[in-house]
């Protein structure tokens, strides 16, 4: 009996990831059947792999803050600031002729620092000033956007050398470098969330902030670090965006904030905190890009793609709710208590 329950428990806990894998495979199969010449090709899969990282990185940042019961609406604005930082530095260093790998490292580091600085502002507001995350990051989103526009007069910035653009268009063993960066970042976040003390504290603060305080968890420090990491991820996203689009622009990715939330929630992140799956977020990002690619190939309207996104989110949420109720009922039967 207990063995059965253990196995059932493990299966149920990982069911979400299993479902996302099934969803992704289903989409691949359906689109392959509908467009057998175009969809199931190495080229198309590679193009999907090019498109996943920027939104995937932003969704990871979003998911991490959501696990603490917060949110980071400023991820896209942060990413754009980071991208503009690299652009500005490269332009100052001579634009396309600044090919030194040393500059690449230095300028990427600068972008990450800018990302973390943005994260630090959010972290201070949320953990010290105690502004609610949704309002704090809404305000900083506007501020970061405003800074970016003032800085550039709203113009896209060009002038990246090939050494930098390599991050956006090169492949290693057919896999885009940007995708490898995304997977690397996802592994790092997975490690933090499920294998470190900080990750445990992040989950505990999100699950029950009062009990966390009574357990001696330093809530402020945890929130501060969370938003720092979120800023760091946004900084990486900014580098990827700049390298892929060969430019940095203050208003890139206007719809990405909501898309990142959709992916985080679809990936199994509890918007109320305390639960989240990095593997789920990665899979959800891939699934949505497969969907986008399929719609694109079928020459369907991008608005239809939006509708499909919303529908998928709804369906997954309903399944999730049903599962919760089913579990409650099972538990009631097992313990003999009223459900």
């Amino acid at each position: 009996m207990t063995g059965v329950r253990t196995v059932a428990g493990v299966a149920l806990r990982n069911a979400h990831v299993t479902r996302l894998v099934a969803l992704t495979l289903l989409l691949v199969v359906v689109f392959s059947a509908l467009a057998p010449r175009v969809f199931p090709t190495a080229l198309n899969f590679q193009s999907i792999a090019y498109s996943v990282p920027e939104i995937g990185l932003l969704a990871l940042a979003m998911a991490l803050t959501m696990i603490t019961g917060g949110i980071d609406l400023s991820v896209v604005a942060t990413a754009n600031l980071a991208a503009l930082t690299t652009a500005g530095l490269y332009i100052a260093a001579g634009g396309e002729t600044a090919t030194s790998p040393l500059l690449l490292v230095a300028f990427c580091a600068a972008a990450l620092l800018v990302g973390m600085a943005c994260g630090a502002v959010n972290g201070l507001l949320v953990s010290r000033v105690r502004v609610s995350p949704i309002l704090a990051t809404l305000a900083t989103m506007q501020i970061f956007n405003g800074i970016a526009i003032l800085w550039t007069d709203g113009e896209a910035q060009y002038g990246f050398p090939d050494t930098f653009l390599w991050l956006g268009d090169a492949t290693i063993a057919y896999v885009p470098v940007a995708f490898l960066i995304f997977i690397g970042a996802a592994l790092l976040i997975w490690h933090i969330v499920s294998r470190t003390g900080l990750g445990t504290r992040i989950v505990l603060v999100g699950a029950n902030p009062v009990a966390a305080r009574y357990s001696g968890v330093d809530e402020r420090g945890v929130l501060m670090r969370t938003y720092l990491i979120s800023g760091l991820l946004a900084g990486i996203a900014g580098i990827v965006i700049a390298a892929k689009s060969t430019s940095a622009s203050p208003d890139y990715g206007g719809s990405y904030v909501l898309l990142a939330i959709v992916i985080a929630v679809l990936g199994g992140t509890d918007p109320f905190g305390g639960r989240g799956s990095v593997a789920g977020v990665v899979l959800a990002a891939i699934a949505l890009q497969v969907l986008a690619s399929g719609f694109n190939i079928m020459r369907l309207s991008p608005f239809l793609y939006q509708i499909a996104q919303g529908l998928i989110l709804l369906v997954v949420m309903v399944v999730e709710l049903r599962r919760g109720r089913l579990l409650e009922r099972l538990r009631g039967l097992l313990t003999g208590r009223p459900g």
Binding site: T6, G197, L204, N208, R331, G336, P338
Partner: protein, 498 residues
């Protein structure tokens, strides 16, 4: 007592959830102008009874009459129209509206007026508060008020809407003693106005302090009903728990040279407590008891750094320690099992494993911050085995455990640190009798192993059973110390109510 004095009469009410009887043929009479205590332990059926009389749940059988008329099928709206009101712990006020609007709101909605005039609301609210002798800033938004004043506003709202019977669900839980006094004064006024006020509580002092009559529920049955003045404490405990109050003290003598592990000197916090000095020696279990709002919880939380003291010193193992935060307290070797297990103690949806390591993460990580899997496993296994937590799968959520086992998890979280001092607030509330003794045994064992244990509780038999000494707190001061030689249920009870 003439029959007409009975305002609410419940007869033969029965309610079953999934084959389990939550209420069996309950008879309850509530009289006009009385303060009635509905007493019983957790799970005794109190909440079910309230849900039924307020129309939230339908009984399987039985009748409810109000002023001699059968109320028929109740809905929450109907119950309010008839004058049966419940003040829940969350108070159900509109935080974004003013006090006056809150007080007037229900009356206006019920009278089906679509437009609400601010001036009318103010007039009604003012009339209500003046009549009840309550001082409230009527223009202030409810969210800006302290809990105690919100509660007064909720009571005024009920009164403004012609409540006949007013149920209050554990109303004193979140109040300080000053606030409890204000609440009780208001309850007196309500009684004089002819309302029936029903206090729902499992706390003995409340029964004795304010009630005229008491109805005791146990396992869904009414096991006692009558005048409070005919009862004494042990009798009430017996009817509530169904067990005789045996003074089965199980306390090991202390070596005369046992050294103090925790000392407080002149500990104080403005408006809460002052001049609190006591010590707990290695191997000793000390009780800290007091009425609700006496300051007992505040003292415990000051020692744990949750709400640090303004004045005085705390010493651990004879060394003064600065406790300005929970972190400070934990570092000094102080652990605290908080009073409200569900909101403060456990992470309900999180695994048993994660709950057990929540208090000692700093000790379970490598220098790079990685959790050491083996150390985590050892901590979890030790806790599950030594505390006999009944589970087959430590990755299952704590929610799946019984109250007693959940409390063991909270204990395990702290024992994993081997603290010098273990402070526990109401450690057996909401824990069934069998589990309760098990938890007390854990405390005895830890004390014997040299830990200092401080138990904050108002459960007199529990204190007598486990404590070497009991300190009594009244109005924020330690006013009495009951030493081992004069320890008895009667002595502690006298100290409490004294």
């Amino acid at each position: 007592m003439p029959e007409t004095a009975i305002v609410l009469r419940v007869r033969g009410v029965r309610k079953t959830y999934g084959g389990v009887a939550a209420l069996r043929d309950a008879d309850v009479d509530i009289r006009r102008g009385e303060v009635h205590c509905l007493a019983g332990e957790n799970g005794s059926g109190k909440s079910t009874l309230i849900k039924i009389v307020s129309g939230v749940e339908q009984p399987d059988s039985g009748t409810i009459t109000l002023d001699g008329h059968d109320v028929g099928r109740l809905t929450p709206t109907r119950a309010v129209e008839l004058g049966i009101q419940v003040i829940h712990q969350d108070l159900s006020l509109f935080p974004n509206l003013s006090v006056a609007e809150n007080i007037a709101m229900v009356a206006r909605v019920a009278s089906r007026r679509r437009l609400v005039s601010r001036r009318d609301a103010m007039a009604l609210a003012r009339a209500t508060t003046e009549r009840l002798g309550v001082s409230l800033d009527l223009g202030e938004r409810v969210e800006n008020l302290p809990v105690a004043q919100r509660q007064l506003a909720a009571i005024c709202r009920a009164f403004a809407h012609d409540a006949k019977v007013l149920f209050m669900d554990e109303p004193t839980t979140a109040l300080t003693w000053r606030e409890v006094d204000a609440l009780l004064a208001l309850v007196d006024t309500l009684r004089a106005e002819g309302l029936a006020v029903v206090f729902v509580s499992h706390k003995l002092e409340e029964v004795f302090r304010i009630s005229d009559r008491v109805t005791v529920l146990r396992n869904g049955e009414v096991v006692h009903a009558g005048e409070v003045k005919d009862l004494d404490r042990p009798t009430l405990v017996r009817v509530m728990t169904g067990q005789d109050v045996t003074e089965d003290r199980d306390v090991t003598g202390l070596p005369p040279d046992a050294r103090p592990v925790l000392e407080t000197r002149g500990l104080g916090r403005r408006h809460e407590f002052a001049g609190v000095s006591f010590s707990v020696r290695a191997g000793e279990v000390v009780g800290l008891t007091g009425l609700l709002g006496s300051g007992r919880t505040e003292i415990a939380e000051a020692i744990f750094g949750m709400r640090p003291a303004d004045t005085g010193d705390i010493l651990v193992d004879g060394e003064p320690v600065r406790v300005r935060s929970v972190h400070d307290a934990i570092r000094a070797g102080i652990a605290y099992v908080p009073g409200d297990r569900l909101t403060q103690g456990v992470f309900l949806g999180q695994s048993i494993r994660r709950n057990l390591i929540a208090g000692s993460i700093d000790r379970l990580i490598s220098r790079s911050g990685r959790l050491r899997g083996e150390a985590v496993q050892r901590t979890v296994t030790t806790a599950v085995e030594s505390l006999r937590i009944k589970t087959s799968d430590v990755s299952a959520p704590v929610r799946t455990l019984s109250g007693g086992n959940q409390q063991r998890v909270v204990l395990g979280k702290w024992l994993a640190r081997s603290p010098r001092v273990l402070v526990l607030n109401s450690p057996t509330v909401g824990v069934d009798i069998g589990s309760k003794e098990g938890i007390l045994q854990v405390l005895r064992d830890r004390a014997r192993a040299g830990m200092g244990v401080l138990v904050i509780s108002d459960d007199v038999p529990e204190l007598v059973s486990v404590c070497h000494r009991v300190l009594v707190v009244r109005r924020g001061r330690v006013v009495d110390e009951i030493t081992s030689d004069r320890m008895s249920v009667q002595a502690v009870t006298d100290g409490l109510t004294g």
